[in-house]
């Protein structure tokens, strides 16, 4: 008998008392009604608690914020689906887009190239205010998982309209089968005497730009 058949047989045999399948009581919170300002405030509070840096901007001011954040940085990576216009200010500062490297289908950045950039800028799919979580699902404005992992600094744009209060609301907006990365602050460890230290293997700096409107 092959292993698959044998294991399934063992399990069926173990269940020969035919245990009942219980109804799952879903009496926990599944929706909420926080307004945009309250959501932004809650998400900001949680992200700061994780030692992320948070900036709240109107859409029109985002290129300026990005230029300021990228000031003094060397090369940075972006996914091909992120609007060029976002970098207009940054380009103006250094006289062109020479610092920017784009990861696009057919023009993939190698791991070595990604290891050589100072930062990455991505969008995001959805965020959860209560837990301070930002979800990336590899859509074109977020790119392949590797680009937001290898660079030491992650600058992440979160649209205010993508912020939910609680996790169940966020999951309803996501497709399970897309590769997902849930990010709640910069990488951290509490392995030594349970003292939280930010920055191990993932990006050690997380800058979040929350975009209104």
């Amino acid at each position: 008998m092959n292993a698959r058949t044998e294991i399934l047989d063992r399990i069926r045999s173990a269940l020969r008392d035919a245990p009942a399948v219980p109804e799952v009581p879903r009496d926990y919170r599944r929706s909420s009604e926080l307004g945009e300002d309250a959501l932004i405030e809650l998400l900001t509070d949680r992200l700061l608690d994780y030692k992320a840096n948070v900036f709240v901007e109107d859409a029109a001011a985002v290129p300026q914020r990005l230029a300021a954040l990228l000031e003094g940085t060397g090369r940075y990576a972006v996914p091909h689906g992120l609007a060029e216009a976002l970098f207009a200010e940054a380009d103006a500062h250094d006289g062109g887009s020479g610092r920017r490297v784009t990861d696009a289908p057919g023009h993939r950045l190698s791991v070595e190239e990604l290891d050589g950039v100072d930062a990455v800028v991505t969008g995001s799919a959805v965020a959860v205010a209560e837990t301070g979580t930002i979800v990336l699902d590899a859509s074109p404005d977020q790119g392949r998982r590797v680009i937001s992992l290898v660079p030491d600094r992650h600058i992440c744009l979160v649209r205010a309209g993508d912020i939910t209060t609680i996790l169940p609301e966020a999951l309803r907006r996501l497709d399970a089968t897309r590769p997902q990365t849930w990010i709640s602050g910069p990488s951290a460890t509490s392995d030594i005497e349970l003292e939280r230290v930010e920055g191990v293997h993932g990006p050690r700096t997380l800058d979040v730009v929350i975009v209104r409107g």
């Binding site: 799952v24 979580t133 998982r145 290898v150 999951l171 399970a176 849930w182 392995d191 293997h201």
Partner: protein
Amino acid sequence: MSGTFLGMPSLPVFGIGNLHEHEPFPKAAHRELGNTQLRANLGHATRTIRDKRLAVVSELPDWEELRDAGRAVKESVMARLPELLEQFEANFTARGGTIHWARDAGEANRIVASLIREQGADEVVKVKSMATQEIGLNEYLEEQGIAAFETDLAELIVQLDHDKPSHILVPAIHKNRTQVRDIFLREMEGVDPELTNEPARLAAAARAHLRRKFLSAKVAVSGANFALADSGTLAVVESEGNGRMCLTLPETLITVMGVEKLLPAWEDLEVFMQLLPRSSTGERMNPYTSLWTGVTPDDGPQNVHLVLLDNGRSAALADEMGRSALHCIRCSACMNVCPVYERTGGHAYGSTYPGPIGAILSPLLTGITAEENNSLPYASSLCGACYDACPVKINIPDILVHLRGEDVDSKRGKKKLPSQMDLGMKAASWALYSGKNLGLVEKALPLGRIAAGPDKKITKLPGIAAGWTQSRDIPAPPGQSFRQWWNKEHQAPAGPAAAGTDVPGAEPAGPKENP
């Protein structure tokens, strides 16, 4: 239920691997208790984590509702396991993943090794996984000439020190910062000799040490926290980013997961991803969670495997009273609240799974008749703190009592002669049957005082009672019994006590000094 079993009922097949005590719990506990550094580190760590957990749990207005949902989801998973496994397999496979089934630890190890060899690799990076520790994968790979690098900071510390994890969440909880620095200085190639014991500096040293490995690794081995049957999705929950590195960079990803880790549907994840981080690290959410479904073209590993592991899980499932131990999501909350664990640490349990959950899960996986594990169900005071803390409401104390019963039954079944316990019970029933009998027994009390010697402590009881004194001393018995004392005090015409208003309890407990 699609899986109604019609074949011959088979006997449970138990698990093998790192699931055993290496010595009886009382003996190991006795030694570990003597390690004061360990106790200080553990006490500090479990206290810290308990406080953090309480704070983030009390923040949620619907914590109890989440626990109820979590328990019911897991119960339905166990009831529908064959059907859900088949559904998961179909979905994971349809998206380009490959599933392997492993009856036991040995089979799982062989599958993983051959998948690694197929890639022509002689080293792999690993992200913390209890399943691979249970099956002893690292040791097996080493025998096969394949080096496995643990990448989780705590696992790295433990591996560099040739030690064993003592806690499932923070495996190096028994080491303090200075011990960690010393290990790094001793074992880490090219480490800065000026390294201090600051946790941030130590984390940076680990980052530098593993960076090259991550960027060049061809094969990664992981565990999984959850598997969603309705989509074929796997999830890994972590903090440091080493998980993301392993799950994203190498071309080949091999995941080893127990068959019990399934969840029926995507919406169930919303329950468990609220329960797990708050219960384990005491955080609102862990820094990183990765989800993948088979292969995503052009993104992450293109050669994706999952080894589904039985290794005693089907045997645990066959125990109607004990099967809910398989609901465990390995959060470690039960350990952090356990008064026994807090003092002995994880090593005393021997098995990969320590603490209250280990005390039930290990013997369920190996069978209670496994001589090595039959003392584990006694490693508890049945105080119930673990049950209260458990996010999926596993009734650990009930299962402990159930397993103690199984242990006693199995031992009795093994021998024809009445055991000391049987004889003891007989003697007790005779003594307690009448006051006269008891009086005779009480006459022997002064003998116990002679046995105790001048410090009035008995440090070694004979026979089966020795178990009691292995980890504690007992005071010498009093010179007279309560009944003897009562009779003396109440014999007319006695002293002032005979007035009848005095309560015997008001006297110093028990009779006074030496006869």
